[in-house]
Subunit: 302 residues, 2 copies
């Protein structure tokens, strides 16, 4: 009996990370020559995609084809193994050699058109490339750091510090009072869009403390109980979204105008309409976002 399926995009990677191979450069070199190896090329943190008969596909290619277009020093990440072989990602500085075959697209925009497996794999690669791009120097001493362990570590030659990819936990929650759910909106969002409240966890907090703090800060609501719904890795750039349904004590919501433009209570019928795209003047984020899954889970619960 496998684990119950997580409903979120970017979850459920089909790859075995096989992390022990990361520390084995000889194995990595061999894998890069294997005919079963497949490789995803990124440019400016955007994955390579191709149109085939009107459908968009992740443009996986053999390692030989990729080697022909990649400079020798191209950053490389070992992503893991599937039933056929190894998977890698590289980032190339010049997109030109591939522009006649396909294009590089922001994962956030095209994710919903790709397979769930590719979304999970490409999201992981994107998080790592984003991290490398913003962490080229040692935070401990300021010297340049270098990539190690097939993309999963950076090492500082000056002070010997080791640096590992950041994963930033974020609590994202739908406050529920009686038979209504509160959603908020930021001024910069498209007109009518409402979503869950959210905020980065801080040192010294449990999940329930972070949920209580953010829910009070953003909407003036006091949290009584916290139910974990699911988690989602979110590669923009590297959050762990911790989705929670929060039962709150009061319904006199008070919006924090530094964070949000407005908050609004929705009945269960209204929340169902939001999810179905049938609300007269509001809409929710798409199924790609954990906020959608949180609202849906509460709206459709018996």
């Amino acid at each position: 009996m496998p684990l119950p399926r997580n409903p979120n995009a970017f979850a459920n990677s089909p790859l075995d990370r096989a992390a022990h191979h990361r520390r084995d450069p000889a194995w990595i070199d061999e894998a890069l020559k294997a005919p079963t190896t497949e490789l995803m090329v990124f440019h400016a943190h955007k994955p390579f995609v191709v149109e085939r008969e009107g459908a968009l596909e992740a443009g996986w290619m053999g390692a030989h084809a990729a080697a022909a277009i990649a400079p020798p020093a191209t950053p490389l990440i070992f992503l893991g193994l599937d039933a056929h072989g190894a998977r890698f990602a590289i980032e190339i500085p010049d997109p030109a050699p591939l522009e006649s075959v396909g294009r590089f697209e922001e994962l956030r925009g095209i994710g919903p058109r790709l397979t769930a497996d590719d979304v999970a794999i490409l999201g992981c690669a994107k998080s790592l490339f984003e991290w490398h791009a913003r962490h080229g120097f040692c935070a401990n001493c300021g010297a340049k750091s270098v990539v190690a362990e097939a993309g999963w570590k950076r090492v500082c030659g000056a002070c010997n510090s080791e640096h590992f990819p950041r994963v930033d936990p974020v609590v994202i929650m739908t406050p529920v009072c009686g038979d209504r759910v509160l959603l908020g909106r930021q001024a910069k969002w498209p007109k009518g869009m409402h979503s869950a409240l959210a905020g980065f966890m801080e040192p010294g907090e449990t999940i329930e403390e972070a949920v209580a703090r953010e829910t009070f800060e953003e909407a003036g609501l006091r949290v009584n109980a916290v139910r974990l719904h699911s988690t989602q890795p979110w590669p923009f750039p590297s959050q762990l979204m911790i989705g929670v349904i929060a039962d709150v004590e009061n319904d006199d919501a008070k919006v924090d105008e530094h964070e949000l433009e407005a908050v609004r209570w929705f009945t269960r019928d209204e929340a169902r309409a939001l999810i179905a795209g049938k609300h007269p003047d509001c809409f929710s984020p798409p199924p790609f976002a954990i906020a959608h899954q949180l609202i849906k889970s509460w709206a459709l619960a018996d």
Copy 2:
């Protein structure tokens, strides 16, 4: 009805973080002069403690007393508000002025002797000081960064990058098969100590994926179901421990000798003996550690 009490040390901080004050230097300056303000002094990331009638206490002091011993440029963290006033922490380079009154001690060792409230507050401060100590330079460009927002941010004057304290999510799990729980031990631990399995979450993973990966990597066990028990902020230096009971499919455990020296199955009676400190040849971590709470929760469940 407040939130159910989290069983873990470092959880349940009594402070309101009042994060909006962090961005208000005038308010911070005023608070530092207030007679109700209390301040915790650290040296080398160790908090100041005093013995009073044989009991150890966190050595909170008034801001005036602290100002007398701290150089003007001393790093300062605004921790939040309690019912009486504001709480801050500072780190001083020279412990001498306070050594006649008390001493600086590692929080990990003395935590169990302090009140739960002080453990939560001091843990948060320690995480932040550890982060500042290892992040004095901008990871994006290598320039020196400076503290901002009353200790909660660092800013790079060269490239304008903003840096926020790390919180590293870690899954920590007790694999359960039928009526037995698996615990592991590292070679460097005291003889007989057995604890939960654990590992850092990586980009691109959900909680259940990280639990499944680490449980298989470390012990060769396949996870069927994951139940969240609780979370714990762990300030050595700044983990979010995500405590999970993992139902596993197989009991032919195979230890990963790079990570662990041994794994061992314990019956429920044996687990109860571990928690009570009455097992003939093994013991578990103390109640201070979430591993203890995980084992206890399973061992004492009906």
